[in-house]
Subunit: 312 residues, 2 copies
């Protein structure tokens, strides 16, 4: 019987420009790690959280790892004891799918500890339960790519319809996490309840182009399609230097860029590692010029999602 | 030197449910035919139009075939004399891309007559010029699939960005043309200028699903994605029996259905010929029960677009 497991789940970019509220992808550069140790007495206990600056709750009913595992145990109608050790690789509230990565790493680990009663994709509902607790909304656009890897389309929620999309070889992502806080509620509140029909058509055309570009491996088409007319124009005003950064990223060779989740992190897609690195350097310069620090990360798109690091 | 040519261009379904204003596809079942005969004296002359009940203009400046060819000659800066003979296989104002098929057949024929100075896809701007004259708007969602065949995405107009999408083997379309007239302006005027953000997201998710379904050859995904929340709910009220027909088509095995262009023709997609035929029969019954006649057509999706029938 497996006594202890450790699993990793990657950072994710939700929304993806024209894919507002329906698309997400995973990035190899960083993520969260969860270690589980089986206990004889039932019950979930969050023993430690590292890397959160003491901000995350240890209480099982509020902790995204424990909530996700509990949802899984409820479905199995099993009582299993586990001690949970969470190591945050992702900053909180950054728009990189921090809570999603914790929940998904916990589920990947727990599924292994229990002998894999679930196919990977069937862990998704439990992760969504955890997102409800962490974010107040049952979003899947971070948890789905963190679990499954690659680009993921959330076509519908009722019932859940998640489609894994292909990732062209050599597609890189650069993440820019500037040093300021942005309240998700603010980022949501600037959006319009109603939008012009014309904007909806533009958005549809672009997301259709992006999907086709991913299937075709057509970087030019991906580039032309990475435009968001629905959320970005309203959210950009909350993001210092947004348009300067955008310009610099384009000049550095980005296929396109956008707001990661609800920000403040920005993402840029590019063809190849050198361009991803050039984009990172260009972004640092712009943020520095407006007096903001920024953490930059870049890597290929993660295509395998969450994975087991070790089991004993 | 080629003296005379005859070309065919297929009927088309624009909008395609969730693909409102950005998608179209071509259907083999019927189309328009244009014969051109080279003349020594320059100038375009529409000699005859068959099958239009005398409704279409012979005057070259108002005739969609002549306008399209003239746009092509202007681009080439050439003066060539041609007599134009148009045979309409498509009913006018039906929502099956009637004017588009005429323009495209004319362009395919003229391009051949002139020794193919243009690649096929580069004929598109001339066809769009003709649509301006015929419909008052520079739509490409009928002319593009009629010219190129298959499913076509119009991602953008400025500049024109047209992407040909794959068609799964065995995908059939049934067209239902009920015997009543529907004014395109009425069909446009019922649409909303502003729509809820939520509807835009739903539409984006579905069109993304449809594109993925076409690439994957996943009929179930295509079926789940064929939902239009933006135009259909408003236009359906103008279409007698719409919901009864929809129900009957689903029961007969349709993957999905929708309004072809701005109606009154409806389309249904299905897997295989037998289902396409069953759909046609079911539709006839429903229309008959509400006292309306209907013409039904079905065929595979046309994947080659317009083509030459003969040259001499």
């Amino acid at each position: 019987m497996i006594r202890s497991v450790k699993a990793f789940a990657p950072a994710t970019v939700a929304n993806v420009s024209c894919g507002f509220d329906i698309l997400g992808f995973a990035i190899d550069a960083m993520g969260d790690t969860v270690e589980l140790i089986r206990k004889d007495e039932p019950g979930l206990r969050v023993v430690s959280i590292e890397g959160d600056g003491g901000k995350l709750p240890l209480e099982a009913k509020k902790n995204t790892c424990a909530v996700a595992i509990q949802a899984m145990l409820d479905e199995l109608d099993e009582q299993v004891g586990m001690d949970i050790y969470l190591t945050k690789g992702l900053p909180l509230g950054s728009g990189m799918g921090s809570s999603a990565a914790s929940a998904v790493a916990a589920l990947e680990a727990a599924n292994c500890l229990l002998g894999r009663p679930f196919e990977k994709k069937n862990l998704l509902p439990f992760a969504i339960e955890a997102e409800k607790v962490a974010c107040g909304a049952a979003h899947a656009d971070n948890v789905a790519p963190s679990l499954l890897g690659g680009f993921v389309l959330i076509r519908d929620y009722h019932p859940l319809d998640v489609i894994k999309l292909p990732v062209p070889n050599g597609l890189y992502c650069t993440l820019l996490h500037p040093h300021y806080e942005l309240n998700t509620a603010d980022s949501r509140s600037v959006l319009r309840d109603k939008i012009p029909m014309k904007h909806s058509t533009i958005q549809s055309g672009n997301v259709a182009g992006l999907i086709a570009g991913l299937y075709e491996g057509d970087f030019e088409l991906i580039s032309r399609s990475l435009r968001d007319v629905i959320a970005e124009p309203y959210r950009a005003v909350l993001l210092p230097g947004f348009y300067e950064v955008r310009e610099a990223l384009k000049t550095a060779g980005a296929l396109g860029m956008g707001i990661s989740g609800s920000g403040p992190t920005l993402f840029a897609l590019s063809k190849g590692k050198d361009t991803a690195q050039a984009i990172a350097s260009a972004a640092k310069e712009v943020y520095s010029s407006i007096g903001l620090g920024v953490d930059v990360y870049f890597s290929e798109i993660n295509t395998k999602g969450a994975y087991l690091i070790e089991e004993k």
